[in-house]
């Protein structure tokens, strides 16, 4: 079945701990890239529109670099990445869920990017010595992620200072927080110190933006299972590839 799906060779099985962690990060980055790109032409104003698209493109770049790290010998085309069956993806609900309305997308961008550097630190601490190129990639990625965080934080803080905007943000946060807390919980179970640091960063950021994170018991992420909104996204990826199967991306 895989030979019909994959143009070249199918991706090798993921069977070691490093690749499992990195694929989760790669697929999350890919999904975030896609979700950001969905706002192209639709963001509230031009500067935000271009910035969101630019950040999304960065995330695709990070995903691509990670795929190359995970499957160095696989002659990979971007098309093969998106042709994977749903059960082969390892993204999580936070990145897979649709980001409508806009403030939900912003809150997701803010939470995801606040947690992300701690995931990289955790991965490089555990596998930096064995996974060639991981530490250098983490360093390069952080140069860009620094600005992603700055953008999300600055925007959320400014909107948080306006009553009507803060109410909408809080509503979106109530909606998104459980999936973000699941991601924190996952990180905590992999790396307790980075999990605690990430949780602290999120709580501080919320406080600075006058937003409240209501505590819910975090659910355990099962990355083999897709969020309901992922189905249409995965179908879109395949549709785009099918539009011009020979395109090099």
């Amino acid at each position: 079945m895989t030979s019909a799906i994959f143009r070249n060779s199918p991706p090798p099985e993921i069977n070691d701990a490093a690749a499992t962690i990195l694929l989760a990060l790669a697929d999350d980055e890919f999904m975030m890239g896609h979700r950001h790109s969905e706002w192209l032409g639709l963001s509230p104003f031009l500067e935000e529109d271009l910035t969101t698209a630019s950040i999304g493109q960065d995330e695709f770049g990070h995903a691509r670099a990670l795929y190359a790290l995970i499957w160095p010998s696989w002659e990979m085309r971007d098309a093969d990445v998106v042709r994977r069956p749903p059960g082969s993806w390892r993204s999580c609900a936070l990145t897979e869920m649709a980001g409508v309305p806009w403030e939900k997308s912003l809150i997701r961008h803010w939470l995801y990017d606040l947690i992300e550097p701690f995931r990289w630190t955790s991965a490089t601490t555990a596998y930096g010595a064995s996974a060639t190129g991981l530490s250098a990639l983490a360093e390069r990625v952080e140069c860009e992620e620094h600005f992603h965080r700055a953008h999300a934080t600055a925007l959320v803080q400014r909107l948080g200072a306006v009553d009507t905007a803060r109410m909408r943000l809080q509503h979106a946060l109530d909606d998104v927080a459980p999936t973000a807390m699941a991601l924190l919980h996952e990180l905590d179970s992999i790396d307790a110190s980075q999990g605690a640091a990430a949780t602290q960063a999120v709580l501080e950021a919320a406080q600075q933006a006058s937003l409240k994170i209501t505590h819910v018991s975090p659910t355990v992420i099962d990355r083999r299972v897709r969020h309901a909104d992922a189905e249409s996204a995965l179908r879109q990826f395949v549709d785009v590839v099918a539009f011009d199967p020979d395109a090099r991306w």
Partner: protein
């Protein structure tokens, strides 16, 4: 939202040029938007952002007259012509 004018300086000897403008609520966000909208591909090694309200603007009508001041744009041709004439006459 205030409008900011964006000036970029490319690598090398060229000076700053006006790249365009952007809207942002304040200086910090203007800097963030500038980076993501004007300098995504190394278009500049330095950037200036100026809030448009701080730009001193001259009245275009007052500038119009300067386009017709030929005495202010001497290209040296009259002097060159006279020197040529004197050279040919053997007086220089």
């Amino acid at each position: 939202m205030p409008t900011y004018e964006v000036f970029l300086k490319p690598d090398g000897k060229d000076g700053f040029f006006h790249a365009g403008s952007l809207d942002a609520p304040d200086d910090e966000m203007a800097a963030l938007y500038c980076r993501e909208t004007y300098i995504r591909r190394g278009e500049g090694v330095q950037a200036w952002l100026v809030a448009r309200q701080h730009i001193v603007t001259l009245d275009p009508k007052e500038l119009e007259v300067t386009a017709h001041r030929q005495h202010a744009s001497n290209d040296g041709s009259v002097v060159a012509q006279r020197r040529r004439a004197r050279r040919q006459a053997g007086t220089e």
